[in-house]
């Protein structure tokens, strides 16, 4: 690994999604977005549902992430996500339908069901946003 760079590794239970060098990584933390630059202090954070972005020498890249953890130690960023999708893998049509279904279900839902549907909605919105970034 080159000095002054981050190594980003995004893994899910079924595969390695990203394994690359980056200059900057932004994580969707549960308490808000976390910007990580080289030399960052060791960190362990829970991730929510949202967009993960990272900047390489040439361009900015995006992933749709659903829950998990991120560990930052010695300029290595390890992301353990339940789900992580590249923009090209996202089926926008399906995401739109999920969004509508979740919106419909949210009306009149309460308690646990409300939380459940809101997570669905967040996931669908994130996927649509990330897909548009390709």
């Amino acid at each position: 690994m080159r000095e002054g760079h981050l190594h980003l590794k995004v893994v899910t239970p079924v595969r390695v999604v990203v394994d690359t060098e980056a200059d900057e990584v932004t994580l969707p933390g549960v308490l808000g977005a976390l910007g990580i630059l080289p030399g960052h202090a060791p960190l362990l954070a829970a991730l929510g549902i949202g967009e993960l972005s990272y900047r390489t020498a040439t361009r900015e890249r995006y992933l749709a992430v659903q829950r998990g953890f991120a560990e930052v130690a010695a300029d290595v960023v390890t992301v353990l996500a339940d789900v992580a999708e590249l923009p090209a893998e996202i089926d926008v049509e399906a995401a739109r339908e999920e969004k509508q279904a979740a919106e419909a279900a949210l009306r009149g839902a309460a308690g646990k069901e409300f939380e459940h549907q809101r997570a669905h909605l967040e996931a669908a919105v994130t996927r649509i946003t990330v897909a548009a970034r390709r």
């Binding site: 239970p13 079924v14 976390l34 960190l43 829970a46 353990l80 339940d82």
Partner: protein, 274 residues
């Protein structure tokens, strides 16, 4: 006989292809497993009194035994080994009360006619092992354990050691073995977001979910390896039998030819003697 051999050969090839796929799944899950392990250990070493509900050890009066079998037979002793071990655990008197969670059609069918307590059956789960299905099952199990409805949960499954060797394995899923999360000492102060306790509370259930997925994938690979070996042996037996039958057939044919020759020759002799 030849058609039987063709079938066993085809089944062997299908099993070999499925084994490759199952092994790929295991390999692809490995980086996640390693990362989860590191994070969990380094976190557990930092949270002083990790008194989480999934770590609580109780005397094992009532336990849950998760038995993983295959959906189909024709895979050697794969199912028989697991079921024999399950019965010996049930009869062994190690636990006062045992409830079963059956995964795979073979196990479900086997226990249907027997009078053991079955908590749930999942006959279709092994057809396609997905993280979602495995995690759902793990969540149900964890909830039961946390609510105190069971004192411990064990997994009984075939571990894929090599193509020739599958091992019946009994593993404790819950409470989580402390040794599995201990020993991750790392210098330096970490920033935790949110608190270490809250993080541990989220990572431990994932650890449990992942263990279930891993066991199912492992069993799937073991099943295909076992079937491959069994069908390889069956093809070989068929080949031997074809050889024997061909020999017998040729002998019989030779005998009838000889007999006919004798008849012709003796007929000719009889004519010549006249």
């Amino acid at each position: 006989m030849r058609s039987t051999q063709q079938i066993t050969k085809a089944m062997k090839m299908v099993a070999a292809a499925r084994l490759r796929r199952a092994q790929t799944h295991i390999l692809e899950a490995r980086p996640y497993a390693a990362a989860l392990d590191t994070v969990l250990r380094s976190l557990a070493s930092r949270v002083a009194s990790h008194r989480h509900e999934l770590l609580v050890e109780r005397p094992e009066h009532a336990v849950t035994l998760v038995v993983v079998t295959a959906d189909k037979g024709l895979c050697g002793a794969f199912n028989a080994n697991i079921l024999r071990e399950a019965i010996s655990l049930l009869e062994g008197g190690r636990w006062e009360r045992v409830e079963l969670v059956l995964i795979g059609r073979r196990g479900v069918d086997f226990f249907r006619r027997r009078s053991y307590v079955t908590m749930s059956t999942h006959a279709e789960l092994m057809r396609a092992v997905t993280p979602e299905a495995a995690f759902d099952l793990a969540r149900t199990l964890a909830t039961r354990f946390a609510a105190g409805e069971t004192d411990a949960i064990y997994l009984l499954y075939n571990h894929f050691r090599s193509i020739m060797k599958q091992e019946v394995t009994l593993e404790r899923l819950l409470p989580i073995e402390r040794a599995r999360i201990a020993g991750g000492e790392r210098p330096g102060a970490y920033i935790f977001e949110p608190s270490p306790q809250a993080l541990l509370g989220q990572i431990l259930p994932r650890h449990v979910q992942f263990q279930v997925l891993r066991a199912l994938l492992d069993s799937q690979a073991a099943e295909q390896a076992s079937r491959m070996t069994a069908m390889g042996a069956a093809s070989k037996n068929a080949a031997d039998m074809i050889d024997r039958l061909t020999l017998t057939y040729n002998r019989a044919r030779q005998a009838s030819i000889t007999k006919e020759l004798i008849e012709i020759v003796s007929g000719a002799q009889a004519l010549a003697e006249r």
